[in-house]
């Protein structure tokens, strides 16, 4: 049984703590959060100890691995310190908003990269995983066009947006990781940002975007993003090849269809929140992390994948700002 600590007792920390508690091969020992009451409340729910000091986690003999759920600016230091302390790490995305700091992190953990996993949960979505496996099996032939539509139910507060690093680093980064996951040989990025929401525009950020990524193999990926969607969380993906295509569709909360006088076959709205939509992902993600640590193998996605997504996000940001297409060093994003 792997012993874990969670650093950061916020919303996503609570999700991971619950996953650990429910996992037959894992045990939650410690929860750390600078706000002591938050740490204590979460720890108490799962019979773990609480602390306000990250150092306590690093020094704990009964902690094999840590899940980093702290604010993004703390990620790099905590990854480096955890690895130095001999802990395996599962870190929430992104590694950091600065490529320079990501590279510093990679340098610091050199030789121990296989001890760090990045929490790109969507790779572990059962439907995404199924499509990925079927594409890899050759069912649709060589992937030619990857189309991702990804829209959130509603925009976060402008105050959050202002510190988010921009839509491409904050929101699109999940979709860019999908591109890395499915294609991985991106050579050029072209992005168009939209400013339809005045509050977000006031922060200088975009609230919607379309990104086109071309690859060395000739495949093209398209990402269509929006910070809002009336029907709820809208997360679709289409892998198209010469033999057919595979589509990820949106789940609804129930399996009810209504037929009335003005319409036939109306379902309820889509799930409205990412924790609800992607609940199964976090469990599968933890499962992969635990299995990798136990086996001593490198979990995927790792730090290099985190870096690749950021390289693409930076390129998209630059493209949207300059109106130019931006070349990407294929080696930087071809992580596997």
């Amino acid at each position: 049984v792997l012993s874990l600590a969670v650093i950061g007792a916020g919303r996503i920390g609570a999700v991971h703590a619950a996953s650990v508690a429910a996992h037959p091969g894992a045990e939650l020992r410690l929860v750390a959060d600078p706000v002591g009451s938050s740490a204590e409340t979460l720890a108490a729910q799962h019979g773990a100890r609480a602390t306000t000091r990250v150092e306590d986690v690093l020094e704990a003999d009964d902690v094999d691995a840590v899940i980093i759920c702290s604010p993004t600016p703390l990620h790099v230091d905590q990854i480096i310190a955890s690895v130095a302390a001999g802990k395996a790490v599962l870190c929430e995305k992104p590694v950091d908003l600065s490529l320079e700091r990501v590279d510093r992190c990679l340098a610091a953990v050199a030789g121990q990269e296989h001890r760090v996993m990045m929490g790109f949960n969507r790779r572990f979505d059962p439907s995404v995983a199924e499509i990925h496996a079927r594409v890899r099996s050759g069912e649709i032939g060589a992937l030619e066009q990857l189309t991702i539509i990804s829209r959130d139910p509603a925009a976060p507060p402008a105050s959050y947006v202002a510190q988010s690093g921009g839509i491409f680093r904050d929101m699109t980064i999940h979709d860019l990781d999908m591109v890395t996951h499915f294609l991985g040989d991106v050579v050029e990025v072209s992005a168009v940002g939209q400013q339809l929401d005045a509050d977000i525009a006031a922060t200088g950020d975009f609230d919607a975007a379309v990104v086109t990524l071309t690859t060395a193999s000739g495949a093209v990926a398209t990402i269509i993003n929006s910070r809002h969607c009336a029907t709820g969380y809208d997360q679709r993906l289409e892998a198209f090849g010469p033999l057919g295509s595979l589509q990820l569709t949106n789940p609804t909360a129930t399996h009810v269809r209504h037929f009335g006088a003005t319409r036939a076959e109306a379902t309820g709205p889509h799930l409205d929140f990412f924790l609800e939509r992607y609940a199964a992902d976090y469990r599968a993600e933890l499962d992969h992390f635990v299995a990798s640590v136990v086996a001593g193998t490198a979990p995927v996605p790792g730090l290099a994948d985190g870096r690749a997504a950021l390289v693409l996000a930076d390129a998209a940001t630059r493209s949207a700002r300059t109106g130019e297409r931006v070349r990407v060093d294929a080696a930087a994003v071809a992580t596997h």
Copy 2:
């Protein structure tokens, strides 16, 4: 090119006349209707002659075949006279509301049965035809459960209902013909009638019904009918066997889906009228008739199929009235 006449210039006569006009192997020569202006209007649309006398049709040297679209009580006499005059016949369903008269008709055309086709259009629906062919091909194994849901958009006037022969002979008969088409070895009929519409109840008829038919092979068919359906014409069929099932679903007028705040994936309502829903059927039906007459082969469904559907409708009527299950002579309904 086969030369045809249409007897009866009403709604369904106009459908058949247009199908003949558009058919490359058929020509419309004559339209007969006791209301001269109706005959003339329809004939003029397609460059044909008009008459008020059925005798003119029977005597016309340039008419090879007739399509009988007159009121039901006239069908039997017109079938007998047409066959006697050497014409092939496509007769709208039903043959008659009285089994005795149907048997008289069969006796009168004995030896010439292959010259008469009954217009059970649903057999020619492209979707029904596809399901039938796939069931016959063994794709789902031996048919075990056939479920038909068949609902009209709105009830006809009570005055029509009063002369219709009752829901089983007027509406269910199409579904009963489907049972004959897919199974054909019915041995028992159990029917429940519903009186939810006061106007129809006042005529003594039912406006909804559920019929269960058991067969010698062990398969069971279920028919669920209603004279009204808010979403429009509701015509579904499910063939279930050990290897899978095949379903007929309802078409909508356009291929648009709406996603809004209160629902995802709403289509428009179903098609609202049988002529619209089944437009393709009438063309395919005529095509089979023309091809059979030209080849000298027996068209299907024939008079025996018309009789089988009536036997089942009579049994359902009796069952619904008495509350008893009614045995059926399997030989009477096993037409093929």
Copy 3:
């Protein structure tokens, strides 16, 4: 926090134990099973005590309520004893296979009926609950036709079937409870049994069936059952009224659609097992039980609902065996 014991540590006992462990308002204290190792394994998983004696449950001061997951023949005695011992009871369906014994049970707990809930899990399925609420709200008008298609992925062993009480008491009983839930005023039952599976036929039971139930209100319910279904668990329900209809459709394991050369839009197969299909139901069912016990109100469905379903199952059995329709005492099934 409500303290619970589980009697019976088999497959369904394990499901309930896990639900209790995960419920914030409930605690698992005791697991009883005549096979000591089964009780101990399940108890250990959730930090509870184990015993081989039901008496230990009845005598335990720290147990407020019991969940009875033992074999059906033990249900009645354990319900009676538990209620007598002051415990609230959630009992797996059915109460018993014998109406006489059910009535004895009701007599024994007279005045304490509100302490017993029957585990008809489907009422708690989120989709069924949604449809029920929308029908009750009047969205489709007065319910006219209720159509239930309910098929299992594969038949149980003939040895199980032989002791099951027959398809109507073992399998259809869930669907009959749906009829009670949605309509409740059944006056007549007509059932047709099918013997398509030789092994099951050898036990004298049916492996497929169609049941028609008429009600005092004029609504008609139809149930179509099969012990096998190639596509997996097939659980559909359609509530039809004058203003529209609501359908329960089948979930699939993932949200992937494949489009290939021979077909468009193929999903994966349906969920293949009732524990998987109905996982959410058991949690919602427990939630209702816990809330009712805490509030001192009568949980629904109760013993009377369990009796009503058995009355209908008995009627269906008799109808299928005799070929006659069977009248039902409306008072016996109108539980609310």
Copy 4:
């Protein structure tokens, strides 16, 4: 009744001739084709005269309007000559592959533009028309993202491709007209071409492409094209706005769903040919043309729309060739 001539008796000429023949307000008088036998065959089918000389059409007193279905390089001269001869014109898309020649055409018919309609049939697709009307009605709020996926079942011969003007002018032009139709204020075009098919690559053309179009209003349109699609004709469109979205989905030939052991709910493949997919469009297009000519109003889309689509296709071609985004004169594409 409007009298028409068809110039060009090829595949699309035959479609239009049949539409005219079936239209109650139109009559086919003349079919012209340099291949006399083609003209005669088509004319005979609909009781019209035939000629090998376009001049005969221009001089015919009994011809009010012409439908130009000749090869693209002949369009401009035939439009000019027809308008000069007093005929109304419905011309198949595109006007021409050269913007210079299109401008020459516009100059030549100056003052008579309302006598020329361009055959962008997709605007008349019932589903597209419904979406357009619902967007215009404000149902989804201001259009923010328009996403078009448009794939042909199979690539045309390389010999055709070589003379087609390139994928953007030949295939994407239909989708670009959709952008004009829905948005109309494009200011920049960014296109990526793909060369996945060696035969087409040998001609120097692309066989797949992704085009992003930004507009003055802030909306963005994305077009995803491929010359092949295993599932058949793939023609989707999604209009997304703050209040919801509207999707155009692909029709299938029949309404059958198959459920088997390895999958649930498989439909048949999409329609495989544009004439089949868009049959209804050509009839609606002709209807609009006839009504406009009779009323003396300007049909839409007109020559200016044909020019706008070509401007966008030229921009996409340049963008794909240079790797630069291309600015567009908004006035050139804002036709309404």
